[in-house]
């Protein structure tokens, strides 16, 4: 079949509208503030080989990782019509345990023709601490591990699987609602893809899904060809892993040769004892994200872009962990540092297009305990924005999520209705952005007053390190985690668990972005 340029563009819209619609269903039907208010989820559509055809623009860190989920399901299972696979095993298609992925095979005339999949961050999947991002030493401590498993087989709910999942979380009513919403979203995706095939014919749909993958590959190759050939290196450090107090190095060499890029993380530190380890899927996602930002914004979100880029990450390193290493922070913290090193390397090649380092953390804050007013346990999870790095030609925005996440905050008023927590301060952290010709964005301060005793887990970064500046710009200020108790100000570690008493205030101060260019004297 010959590819018609006009139909190619039309199919781009047809494919893209399916995950968009899945996302609308998932957001509206889900239960937890984390998914509904904060929109911590992604939806995508795949071909029969597990290549991603389209993804709705949701959460970047899910981007490169979702195809590996589908491929893991393909390796592990045989599919029948009406099946729905569930998984979160970071070593079999997942990234970290709270991200639960549901995958539905799509059949046409008895043949497997594709998959609809979605991933949502669940506020609790069991493990050592509320929120399932504890300071762990091995994966099994982080929560319930789900290898690729059928939640539905031939349309029938596997009640045993369902019960096991709900029995292993601190908030089963919420998990049940969110999982049902995920099922509904995938069903919508399956229906819509089947309808598209009925309308256009299978051969045409397959031809144009392949053509769009090739198109994105061409777009990416055009971009890479415009980067001067050469090897660009950079390295930066994580503050630590929460177990051992020492910085952890991430190193990268990006080699550009014609229209092909090789991204090699050789020289990065071995996997850590604590949970900052990233599985390969995370590392792939960050590379995908960085190159995606440099390509035209209208290009479809599919895996074609990765064909022009080879990603090498040493096995057993902090950027390609092996079992049984804990991984909760790899997804939410290390991913941000991997972006920092990729951008640091590319700044030498494309100085006019690369921003200085952004806050470089998601400031994961998890609080759980017993809610005396509502007489039930609760788990609160939130990530907090900070300063974005200054851009060549523009200051960095303040108080905003950068790079690998874009989740919404929980409104102070929604917090009080849901949890025994009162927000007492939520403001821009003045002068935390790095100085420069263009200033880095300022971080945030968020103060939470505990109305009942609780346990908090903190998983944050750039508490000792600082987001770098570029072209002579100053670094942004480090973040701080403080406990305000009585009149005391107690400095908390970047990662750790802390027992909180009613009346305590947990005060999170997030990092500023780096500056760009020398500050005027």
């Amino acid at each position: 079949m010959k590819t018609d340029l006009v139909r190619l563009e039309i199919f781009k819209h047809l494919f893209a509208s399916i995950p968009e619609e899945m996302g609308a269903v998932l957001q509206r039907a889900s239960f937890s503030p984390n998914i509904k208010e904060r929109r911590d989820f992604s939806c995508a559509l795949f071909d029969a080989q597990g290549e991603m055809i389209a993804q709705a623009a949701h959460i970047p860190v899910h981007l490169g990782a979702m195809p590996l989920s589908v491929q893991a399901a393909i390796r592990a299972l045989e599919f029948a019509e009406g099946d729905m696979v569930i998984l979160n095993d970071p070593y079999q298609g997942g990234t970290h345990l709270p991200d639960i992925t549901l995958i539905a095979p799509i059949f046409h005339a008895g043949d497997l023709v594709g998959f609809a999949a979605n991933r949502a961050h669940h506020a609790d999947v069991g493990g050592m601490a509320p929120g399932s991002m504890p300071i762990a030493h091995e994966l099994v401590q982080e929560g319930l591990i789900l290898p690729p498993t059928k939640l539905y087989a031939g349309g029938e709910l596997q009640q045993g699987v369902w019960d096991i999942i709900l029995r292993n979380t601190r908030s089963p009513w919420e998990r049940a609602g969110d999982l049902r919403a995920q099922v509904a979203a995938n069903r919508r995706g399956v229906e819509r893809f089947a309808a598209l095939i009925a309308a256009q014919g299978l051969e045409t749909v397959q031809h144009y899904s392949a053509a769009l993958l090739a198109y994105t590959e061409r777009m990416t190759r055009t971009l890479i060809a415009a980067i001067p050939d050469g090897a660009y290196r950079f390295e930066d450090y994580l503050d630590g892993d929460g177990v051992e107090e020492r910085p952890i190095k991430i190193a990268v060499a990006i080699e550009i040769k014609g229209d092909q890029a090789t991204v090699d993380f050789a020289g990065s530190d071995p996997q850590a004892k604590g949970s900052v380890n990233a599985v390969y899927a995370i590392t792939l996602s960050t590379v995908y994200y960085v190159f995606r930002c440099l390509v035209d914004s209208e290009v479809p979100n599919n895996t074609g872009s990765l064909r022009a880029i080879q990603v090498l990450a040493p096995e057993g390193s902090v950027v390609n962990a092996r079992p049984p290493a804990p991984v909760a922070g790899g997804n939410v913290e290390t991913s941000q540092r991997i972006v920092d090193v990729l951008l640091g390397a590319l700044a030498a090649a494309l100085p006019e297009r690369i921003p200085a380092a952004s806050q470089g953390t998601m400031n994961n804050t998890l609080i759980g305990g017993w809610d005396p007013a509502r007489q039930r346990p609760y788990t609160y999870y939130e990530t907090i924005g900070g300063g974005m790095g200054a851009r060549p030609g523009a200051d960095g925005p303040s108080a905003i999520h950068s790079h690998m996440t874009n989740t919404l905050n929980t409104p102070a008023e929604a917090m009080e209705y849901a949890y025994p927590i009162r927000v007492t301060r939520y403001e821009i952290r003045e002068d935390s952005g790095g100085a420069g010709e263009f200033r880095g964005g300022d971080g945030l301060r968020r103060d939470l007053l505990l109305l009942a005793d609780a346990t908090a887990s903190l998983l944050s970064e750039r508490r000792s390190g600082q987001p770098y500046g570029l072209a002579g710009g100053e670094p942004g200020r480090s973040g701080r985690n403080l406990l305000l108790r009585g009149g005391d100000e107690i400095e908390l570690p970047s990662k750790g668990e802390v027992e909180l008493k009613a009346g305590d205030v947990l005060s999170i101060r997030t990092p500023g972005g780096g500056g760009w260019g020398r500050a005027p004297k």
């Binding site: 563009e9 055009t222 102070a412």
Partner: protein, 657 residues
């Protein structure tokens, strides 16, 4: 005499209804963007007799003040520790994959975001008393900086407005116009409530000056203003709550569309209003849908408004080759300046140029022949694009037309399929300048059986204003458990109903002319998105059923929360009947302008062009054909059959692909 007046970018439209004779008259005056009142006063210049006229106005003054950032110099007073909520928003960035995209700047800079010590909790109980003494310093700050409007938004003011009221009172006493969040949007979620309140403070003084000028110039007439929710309000309320009028004009279009469609016998309609730079689409299922979570120019404006989805594609959208060798259309637009290449100034190929080169627009017939089109210039623009793409120019013309239709089809899917509605059950109602050329192909693509192009396609918004009732919206977050006794829920909504009745009575509506629509936003406890359910004793059962219908499951055992109560009070006005025309013997040849070659996907076809105003009721013809009206052109495909109905609408039965 009732007159609907819609200010548009090019024309200000007037639709005049005489209740005695039931006669409707329509005319247009060139708009005066620097001073929109001038065009209105010109149009109204000759009052017929001395009796007072009822004017209903759709104004772009509030919209433009917001979008062009020309509102009042505004200050915000808020709870200590929360002045940056307005800047932080929901902390998300506007574009995922763009390092250079910036969120919209807040309407109030940090220096004028003022804090006062106070705190109320979610139960409405005072945690920190209001520091009244501190208010004087804030007033001094506002005087020093010549602040023109003040927004007050404190946490949980909807649960207990005492602090906001005290602050507002002091500022009003000091001479400042004040917008308080418990008045404007008494609902939870502080950013959205604060943003809506600030937008109101920012645009209301501009609206107030504008309406004041109109009222002064028209002392004998009664002025009403169209709101975004499809109803009208009086000028005092419009001047103090201008945020309710942000989508004034488009809302009129939807009300007009609903009336025209209903008269023609269709209650399920997708509206399609394609302009030069953007296109509005909306779903009408008996009535237009409403939303309470809209955003305008990137800022949340959560007062109820008709649900309208806008995409950045229109007749002026530019076609180009991307680095991957693909053909794309928009979102860059040639706009009105330089405009499409054929307008004589632009160099880049647009959708309008494609329509011209496909023969669907005749240069000598465009805008009644008043605007010369440069075909050679359009050709040059397209030849350049085709060469870059390595395809024949003819393929590029048709391709651009088809691609922009794909954008439109996606927009129509968002408002239909994504909401669980099947477009095949709907009629496509096209209005606006550029819609008629795209409507049948779009309907075909979506499997829609019919296209309706109203007789009033070019003045539908002004017609809608004539048809609008007086509408007032009230709401309050109550967060009641589902187990609450129904009588207690009734008691909670009763003050809202009483307020609505009193406000309409004050505007002169008799009890029999007032209709109350009560509803509740309900969710399962723990969810953070609510479904709006009509108020009644079966509230909870209806919620479970609605959840089943919307999301495919329900859980009657789960805890339910009644989040917001809503009341809409409607003052009914006498709406004009649309005039009908009896069938006459139609001689199509009399309406024929000529036959010209038009290109379709199947090839070039000699196609009749008919003059729209000469097609009377009963005129019917098989496509291909093109109907030319003074302000719009309508394409009928070879598979389609068109008929002029008794209202002089063009109804097109859309054939299969």
């Amino acid at each position: 005499m009732r007159i609907g007046i819609d200010t548009g970018g090019t024309f200000t439209d007037f639709v005049v209804f005489d209740p005695e004779s039931k006669h409707i008259e329509t005319f247009k005056v060139l708009s005066t963007p620097q001073d929109p009142a001038a065009a209105i006063l010109e149009g109204l210049g000759r009052p017929e007799g001395q009796s007072a006229r009822d004017l209903v106005h759709g104004s772009t003054v509030a919209t433009n003040a917001l979008l062009e950032r020309k509102g009042a110099r505004t200050a915000l007073v808020t709870t200590a520790g929360f002045r940056d909520v307005l800047h932080i928003g929901r902390q998300n960035r506007p574009a995922l994959y763009d390092f250079f995209a910036d969120p919209p700047a807040p309407l109030v800079p940090r220096q004028h975001r003022l804090e006062v010590a106070e705190r109320i909790d979610y139960r409405g109980e005072v945690v920190t008393p209001l520091d009244k003494a501190a208010i004087e310093a804030l007033i001094a700050h506002c005087r020093t900086h010549e602040i023109e409007a003040v927004a007050v938004s404190t946490l949980f003011a909807f649960a207990n407005p005492a602090h906001e009221q005290a602050i507002a009172e002091r500022f009003r006493a000091a001479g400042f116009p004040v917008s308080a969040s418990h008045d404007i949007l008494p609902e939870f979620r502080e950013y959205e409530r604060t943003s809506t309140t600030v937008v109101n403070a920012y645009v209301s003084p501009v609206m107030g000056r504008y309406l004041g000028r109109l009222e002064t110039a028209l002392p004998a007439d009664r002025l009403q203003v169209m709101q975004s929710n499809g109803g009208m309000i009086g000028p005092q309320q419009a001047a103090s709550e201008a945020v309710r009028c942000i989508l004034s004009g488009p809302a009129g279009g939807l009300v007009g569309a609903q009336a025209v469609a209903a008269a023609a016998g269709f209650d399920k309609v997708l509206t399609f209003d394609m302009g030069g730079t953007s296109t509005d689409v909306a779903l009408i299922d008996g009535a237009p849908r409403s939303t309470s979570d809209a955003s305008i120019g990137g800022l949340p404006v959560n007062v109820p408004m008709l649900s309208i989805h806008t995409v950045g594609s229109g007749g002026g959208s530019i076609a180009f080759r991307d680095p991957g060798g693909g053909l794309q259309v928009g979102p860059q637009s040639a706009g009105a300046d330089p405009g499409p290449a054929c307008y004589g100034r632009g160099e880049l190929p647009t959708v309008t140029d494609a329509n011209l080169l496909l023969g669907r627009i005749r240069p000598e017939l465009f805008f009644g022949g008043q605007m010369a089109l440069d075909t050679a210039r359009a050709e040059r623009a397209f030849n350049g694009l085709a060469a870059e793409l390595g395809i024949p120019p003819e393929e590029a013309h048709l391709g651009v037309f088809q691609i922009v239709n794909a954008h439109m089809a996606r927009a129509l899917r968002v408002i239909s399929v994504q909401q669980g509605q099947d477009p095949r059950d709907y009629t496509l109602l096209a209005f606006g300048g550029a819609g008629g050329l795209h409507a049948v192909e779009l309907a075909r693509e979506l499997g829609m059986p019919r296209v309706l192009v109203p007789r009033q396609a070019a003045t539908l918004s002004a017609l809608g204003m004539l048809l609008a009732d007086a509408t007032k919206d009230y709401s309050r977050t109550v967060m009641l458990p589902g187990a609450t006794e129904f009588t207690d829920v009734q008691a909670a909504i009763a003050p809202l109903i009483a307020q609505g009745q009193a406000d309409l009575a004050a505007e002169g509506f008799a009890a029999g002319e007032i209709r109350i629509e009560a509803s509740a936003d309900i969710r399962y406890a723990g969810q953070s998105f609510e479904l709006n359910i009509a108020f009644g004793e079966s509230l909870l059962a209806d919620f479970h059923a609605a959840h089943q219908a919307a999301y495919g499951y329900q859980d009657p055992q789960a805890q339910v929360e009644i989040v917001n109560l809503r009341v809409r009070a409607i003052g009914l006005v006498e709406a004009p009947q649309l005039p009908t025309f009896t069938k006459t013997k139609v001689n199509l040849e009399e309406a024929l302008i000529g036959r010209y070659p038009v290109r379709f996907a199947e090839g070039e076809v000699e196609t009749p062009f008919y003059a729209g105003e000469r097609l009377g009721t009963g005129a019917a013809f098989q496509g291909p054909a093109i109907v030319v009206r003074a302000d719009t052109t309508i394409l009928v495909g070879a598979q389609d059959r068109a008929e002029v109905d008794e209202y002089l609408n063009l109804q097109i039965s859309v054939g299969p692909a």
